[in-house]
């Protein structure tokens, strides 16, 4: 039997525009469902007899319907039986939608219908981002290459998560299947621990409540509040005045102890049998081989490789006994199954080193050993360590610079860029010098003109000749 799950958007009471006989201007409210268009069409198609529209104006994104009670619901979905011949018609509807909220239950799993989907066309296009300010100055222009996307019809059914619940056969009201070897109702210490089915689509769970509804001071469950509160997956339901446990079909051991349930004594395993089992498990553990480079090493050093002027840090040392080389790993790729590092081949009185990539599969674990004591260090340091042990070569022969040398080189490189920048600035200054001189001249001239204007704008100074004696105030 095939079922489809059809999501409705909302369940509620909606105003209807049907004319009424009453003189009231208030619009009558009808309880019903809000559906998106494709779902409405599918619903009409499948159970058209049980569906009637609520006439509504203005809102066109959704359709509003009332549905007869006989139509099965679970969560926010209508669960409707379908037959194969109807599927083609439903597909015709869903093929015009992107991710329509319709799912098909077939072979004990959910499937999404054929539908529109986005895909990468493989064609590249350039996206340009301009970063500027309010005044129209452009500071930076970035260009990205992005792949064009297209829309196409996916003609197949794909497995999907569906509405998020498994579809089971609609069950009549019957006691939920309680966990085995536990009674569904345990009473003791003034408390009741009960296995009860949930409302509607809720899962059944264990409830712990007082035997009688009593005040908080007399409550047995409140006496053990701290214990109950500390239980994971346990919550207090205010409405039911009880604790409930959603962690599994078996109640926590603490709760069983609280109600004084000792349980049935399970038959003990004979000691010989348990020993035998343990021995087998130990043998299994031993047979499981330790990988050459444990995953934890990859994880801690992933993406930390940098070249660092010829002296990168290496974090793993492999030694090949027969070929007589040491391999210091600087970088490892798990996807390509390759190791990049420095191979140091030790001869009688010589040592040769080179950078190379080894395939992880080529290394047979028997001949190659990892040095478990090796910690992350610079390559030069690692080679010096090897040289002190072997005493047949000097590390300077290999041309690997020392750490100080590397630091010096890094500093020199930085210094070169700094000098180049300085030189560039100096050139710019030299180039701009006539301009600045001209500006200074211009400023000087302006200041002079202002001064001159001020001077000429002043009134003539009074003469310093003495005023006449007969009219000294004139």
């Amino acid at each position: 039997m095939l079922y489809i799950a059809l999501r409705f958007h909302e369940k509620g009471r909606y105003e209807s525009h049907t004319p009424t006989e009453t003189a009231s201007r208030r619009k009558p409210k009808v309880s019903g469902y809000q559906l998106v268009k494709p779902n409405y069409r599918i619903l009409k198609l499948l159970v058209g007899d049980h569906v009637s529209d609520i006439p509504r104006s203005r809102i066109v994104e959704y359709h509003y319907v009332t549905v007869a009670d006989s139509v099965r619901q679970q969560g926010h979905y209508f669960i409707l039986p379908v037959i194969d011949s109807q599927l083609a018609e439903i597909e015709a509807i869903t093929k015009l939608e992107r991710q329509p909220p319709v799912h098909l239950w077939r072979d004990d799993q959910w499937w999404s219908f054929p539908q529109l989907e986005m895909y990468n066309t493989g064609e590249m296009t350039t996206m340009r981002t301009t970063i500027g300010d309010l005044f129209g100055n452009v500071h930076e222009v970035r260009e990205h290459q992005i792949e064009k996307t297209g829309l196409r019809i996916r003609p197949t059914y794909e497995p999907s998560k569906g509405p998020g619940f498994e579809l089971t056969r609609p069950t009549a009201n019957r006691a939920p299947d309680a966990p085995a070897n536990l009674p569904t109702l345990i009473t003791g210490n003034g408390m009741v621990l009960e296995w009860k089915r949930g409302y509607e689509d809720k899962q059944p769970c264990w409830w712990l409540r007082d035997e009688q509804r009593v005040s908080k001071a007399q409550s047995a469950t409140y006496r053990h509040y701290a214990t109950l509160k500390a239980t994971p997956h346990a919550r207090w339901s205010k409405g039911f005045a009880a604790w409930y446990y959603t962690g599994g079909s078996r109640p926590p051991q603490k709760w069983l102890e609280l109600v004084g349930y000792s349980g049935v004594v399970s038959p003990a395993m004979p000691p010989e049998l348990s020993q035998q089992i343990e021995a087998v498990l130990a043998a299994d553990d031993a047979a499981e081989k330790e990988p050459l480079i444990p995953l934890s090493l990859y994880d801690t050093h992933a993406g930390r490789y940098d070249w660092n002027y010829g002296n990168p840090e290496v974090w793993c040392k492999l030694a090949h006994d027969e070929a007589g080389w040491l391999f210091f790993i600087a970088n490892a790729s798990l996807t390509e199954r390759s190791l990049y590092g420095y191979q140091l081949t030790l001869g009688e009185n010589t040592a040769v080193g080179e950078w190379l990539t080894l395939a992880l599969d080529d290394l047979s674990a028997d001949s190659v050993q990892r040095d478990p004591q090796f910690t992350r260090q610079s390559l030069r340091h690692a080679i010096e360590q090897a040289a002190t042990k072997v005493k047949t070569f000097l590390p300077d022969e290999l041309g690997i610079p020392t750490d100080a040398d590397c630091r010096r080189r890094a500093f020199e490189a930085r210094h070169q860029t700094y000098l180049a920048e300085r030189e560039r600035q100096r050139e710019l200054e030299a180039m701009m010098k006539p301009y600045h001189a001209f500006q200074a001249m211009l400023n000087l001239r302006q200041a002079f003109e202002e001064g001159l204007h001020h001077l000429t704008g002043c009134k003539a100074l009074p003469t310093q000749s003495p005023p006449p004696l007969d009219d000294p105030w004139s």
Binding site: P466, L469, P472, W473
Partner: protein
Amino acid sequence: MSHQTSPKSMITQTYVGQITVVGECFCYGCALDGQQLVYLDVAGPATSVEAVWAKLAQGKECSIIPPEHDAQKIILRTAEGQLKRLQRKVEGIGIHHLLLIHQDLLTPTYAELSTTYLFLVDKSQTTAKLGSHIQQLVDIAVFPEWYAYLVQQGRVEGLITPLACYGGTSLWKIILDKTAWQRVICRGVSQGHLHLPA
């Protein structure tokens, strides 16, 4: 000795502009010594006039807006406690008349180097007033015949300078420098410009 009284002469009052602090009031004369307000003649509603006084007394500045369109406004500033306030109500029209006058003009200090100011309304009266200031200032005898010479030489020496005046008034600044004035007198006597009365 008969007490001779000269006729009182009026200080000229001409409209300078309006001052707006609280409401409007009108300025009919003003004199500034540099930045310091020496004389201000304002009439208007009581609140407006007192607001001008209050603002100046707090050391804040206010300005006279001349009626001419392109004229610059006259900014009034004063140090605190420098101005004497004389206010009276003009009966019948409900207007208050406020005079602000510098304390140095009213109570000159002779004991130290200071300044005082003179209204130039009647020239002979002003000359006599200057003479009396100098009589009080110096330790030597000063005769009324010398006054004109003192005014002339004071102006040459820069001891008497006119103030920036608005509205038809004319005020002068006198520097009460005892040694400078004594020097002027001694020089006049020695050069024969001043004669002792017979």
